[in-house]
């Protein structure tokens, strides 16, 4: 067997294992979700099946028993429990080891395979072992067609049983589970009909449900589920959005419209609520027109319809090819160069004033810009896989610490440059560990302070202009300003009597060598913490911010550039040389007048809006020849809250910069992070202001 094919299998298997892990964690949350069970089964099946084909017989035989177990779960003959899930996660890890050791001479740990297989066997009835996938056909309408079922229509289902629902032995839970098995399903329960305890018939049903279901099955299949309760319930099933609608029909129904459509409110209520400028849902709840759960249910519907449409528009993700990252980098590089050449062409044609040439130049400009965007786009990856990794982290660490933590991710579809994503993993691990370890309190403490037992950590990503914001939010204890302050004084980071705002104190956690953890745990590190996070984010051209409220929790936001290869820069000049300052760091530009300098008393200080800002003279840094111009300009930058000015001859303007790596000859050049080629073909150096500031501080100290 050729190694290339084996590698392909290995790559595929790693991907499947990631899918598998994700599905397992979801299964832990919703053990009744047959769709997820199906996912687990299929992933195992593929790992096993192609394992045998590619000569990984040990993996094939190892996964055989696991597959059988999940086949039974799929057919409802076995209940999924924490034990099976934990065991399967262990098995995933073991498969990874097996994939890793395959190429080497050493055999994977056979004793371990045996032990795990035995553990799985315990779940099987005695004679069952030899028939993997044998009974798979017993309930075809539930599990098997899921792959092909490209989740077509979204239905709004209202299920309001009569009070006597239970009296003939009906339990609504299996019905809800059957609906959940049909597709993507959100269920919300209404308890508004619940009477006071005294008046309650203990054997009566007072609960109703709103269900939003996106499924490939038709309305009849849904109707069929309710067939036994038709006489004892009010049921309505309405399609609310076929995802195959025209693209321009993308306006989502407003919450008010949904409530109106459902008959929860009347036209008059809606108009009244709209008249006040607040969120419609809030108004309707406040005025007692609807219950909170009705609004939540309408919001849920909106959310699911939106999600389904997005998915549909995203198209078929499976038709893709694999390309080595290096080839992509080369493509991006070439596209960047083409943009540069095109700029020269445009300049030349403008000079020649030849209408034909100008026409061609314009076409080339459009095409090359488009080419560059596409090339950059190819390197963009959704954050989903990175986020998924953290689910396991949160699960493992929280159980290790005896904390209950829910983990919510949002914006997995947000895309970032692959290079940025690769460098993001470690800082995020660190931040999430911190939230688990220091942020979320122990369950008893949470109960004592009136919080839900289960804490949560929310990991979100969203676009904001040319940046992506990634936030980690926990609902834990918040930062302890007193403790941080004391620690900072102890470490000599601030004077004991320094007056600091709360924000400034929070920022101290990013100071080098800072850690408030009084005892070192295995979870979050030993003082090599947040400063490393900060510097690695800043090295990506990003920034870190922290917001925290006592007892309410902490949010840490990472602001990252969409891509590393193109930055928005500010073009400046020193004599006849051009430089680029990353625009993200620039706050403002001011003139440097003689008066300002003298006020600095020979030290490099300038007063900007009543604030004293130190500045660095770039002419001095780069030994620029020639006379200083009469009127110099200062570019004020802000890095991690610290303002520093850079004196330049002239600010030319904003410039979108394609970064080119400097050859190794320039490695020694401090304070420069790269170069770019300008429209006229000349080279401009991109300043690494972080380094420049550090260097200046060193020089000052010397």
């Amino acid at each position: 067997m050729m190694d290339a094919q084996k590698n392909l299998y290995r790559e595929e298997a790693y991907e499947l294992l990631a899918v598998l892990e994700d599905a397992l964690l979801e299964l832990e949350q919703h053990p009744g979700n047959m769709e997820v069970v199906g996912k687990v089964f299929r992933a195992m099946h593929t790992i096993k099946g192609s394992g045998a084909m590619f000569g990984f017989d040990d993996i094939a035989s190892f996964t055989h028993t696991i597959e059988t177990v999940y086949d039974m779960i799929r057919n409802g003959r076995l209940q999924v429990g924490k034990d099976i899930i934990s065991l399967t996660l262990k098995a995933c890890d073991h498969i990874k080891t097996m994939l890793g050791t395959i190429q080497g001479e050493e055999k994977a740990d056979e004793a371990k395979s045996h032990k795990l297989t035995e553990a799985f066997r315990k779940f099987l009835p005695q004679k069952e072992e030899e028939t993997p996938g044998g009974m798979g056909k017993s309930l075809p309408e539930v599990a098997s067609d899921r792959d092909a079922g490209e989740a077509g229509t979204t239905y709004r289902i209202r299920f309001k049983p009569h009070q006597d629902l239970f009296s003939n032995g009906t339990n609504p839970v299996p019905l809800l589970n059957e609906l959940r098995g049909l597709g993507e399903c959100s269920v919300i329960c209404h308890l508004k009909g619940l009477p006071e305890l005294q008046e309650m018939d203990p054997e009566g049903c007072y609960t109703g449900w709103d269900i939003i279901l996106t499924t490939g099955s038709d309305a009849n299949a849904i109707q069929d589920i309710f067939i036994f309760v038709e006489d004892t319930s009010d049921i309505s099933i309405e399609p609310i959005g076929c995802i195959l609608q025209d693209e321009d029909d993308l306006a989502y129904k407003k919450v008010g419209e949904i409530l109106l459509e459902r008959g929860d409110i009347r036209e008059g209520d809606l108009e009244k609520a709209l008249a006040s400028q607040k969120k419609i849902g809030e108004v309707l709840v406040e005025t007692g027109v609807v219950k909170r759960s009705q609004v939540a249910s309408a919001l849920m519907e909106q959310e699911q319809v939106r999600g389904t449409r997005k998915k549909h528009l995203a198209g078929d993700e499976t038709s893709s090819i694999r390309v080595p990252a290096l080839k992509l980098d080369a493509l991006v590089n070439l596209a960047g160069e083409l943009v540069t050449v095109q700029a020269r062409l445009s300049e030349f044609s403008a000079r020649e004033n030849d209408p034909d040439l100008m026409g061609i130049a314009e076409d080339v400009e459009h095409l090359s810009a488009e080419l560059r965007d596409i090339a950059m786009g190819i390197r963009m990856l959704p954050l989903g896989t990175t986020f998924a990794k953290f689910k396991r982290l949160v699960r493992d660490l929280s159980s290790e610490l005896g904390k209950e933590i829910g983990f919510i991710t949002e914006g997995e579809e947000t895309e970032l440059d692959k290079t940025v994503i690769d460098k993001l993993s470690d800082p995020l691990v660190h931040l999430i560990r911190n939230s688990i370890d220091h942020g979320i309190e122990q369950p008893d403490k949470r109960i004592a302070s009136g919080k839900p037992v289960q804490g949560f950590i929310r990991l979100t990503a969203e676009h904001a202009g040319a940046h992506v914001l990634i936030s980690i939010t926990d609902d834990g204890a918040g930062l302890d300003t007193g403790l941080i302050r004391a620690k900072a004084v102890e470490k000599g980071l601030i004077a004991a009597d320094a007056t600091l705002t709360e924000r400034e104190i929070h920022k101290l956690i990013f100071a080098p060598g800072f850690s408030t953890s009084t005892n070192v745990t295995s979870v979050s590190g030993r003082g090599v913490g947040m400063d490393v996070v900060r510097s690695s984010i800043e090295s990506l051209g990003g920034a870190v911010e922290v917001i925290s409220a006592p007892a309410r929790g902490t949010t840490i936001t990472l602001k990252l550039p969409l891509t590393l290869a193109i930055i928005d820069g500010l073009l400046i000049s020193l004599a006849d040389e051009s430089f680029v300052i990353p625009l993200a760091a620039v706050v403002e530009c001011v003139d440097l007048t003689g008066a300002d300098i003298s006020r600095g008393h020979g030290r490099h200080l300038i007063k900007v809006r009543d604030e004293i800002v130190p500045y660095i003279h770039l002419r001095e840094v780069f030994d620029t020849r020639g006379k200083r111009p009469e009127r110099e300009q200062v570019v004020i930058t802000d890095l991690a809250g610290k303002r520093v000015g850079f004196v330049v001859d002239k600010v030319i303007g904003e410039h979108q910069t394609v970064i080119k790596n400097l050859g190794h000859l320039f490695k020694a050049t401090n304070g420069v992070s790269g170069a770019t080629i300008l429209g006229d073909g000349s080279v401009a150096l991109i300043l690494d202001i972080h380094k420049l500031i550090q260097q200046a501080e060193v020089d000052d100290a010397a």
């Binding site: 039974m72 057919n75 409802g76 003959r77 076995l78 009835p125 009974m135 017993s138 309930l139 075809p140 309408e141 539930v142 239970f166 009296s167 003939n168 032995g169 009906t170 339990n171 839970v173 299996p174 019905l175 059957e178 054997e203 589920i225 067939i227 036994f228 006489d231």
Partner: protein
């Protein structure tokens, strides 16, 4: 924990079909030949569900359902009746008596499994 199901039918072939289909799905099935036999069996063998034919000698399905429902231990136990399309009145009588669901004969094994899953937690 294995769920226990009582299959009540005077036809041995139907009992066998029910028994075979459901035990293959991991349920434990016990058989009874009519209503009287069924009441006798459940006294010593508490079940999670009863699947009963309607037309049977001695005690028929309707009577069995009524008897089970009047026993506090079976007040909320899911009961499935096996009926034929032609006798809708029988189905309604069964519903009145307190049946939870029904299966129309003839049925395919997977239909039986689907109904059991729909009614058993």
């Amino acid at each position: 924990m294995t769920k226990k199901i009582l299959s009540v039918d005077d036809s041995a072939s139907i009992r066998q079909l029910v028994s075979f289909t459901l035990s293959r799905e991991g349920y434990e099935v016990v058989e009874a030949v009519d209503g009287t036999d069924a009441l006798d069996k459940v006294r010593s063998w508490p079940v999670d569900m009863v699947i009963t034919d309607l037309n049977m000698p001695n005690m028929d399905g309707i009577e069995l359902i009524k008897a089970l429902r009047s026993d506090p231990a079976f007040k909320f136990t899911p009961i499935v009746m096996l009926t034929t399309e032609s006798v809708m009145t029988k189905k309604d009588a069964g519903k009145q008596a307190g049946a939870t669901g029904w299966i129309v004969k003839p049925f395919k094994p997977e239909q039986l499994v689907a109904v059991v899953k729909r009614l058993l937690v």
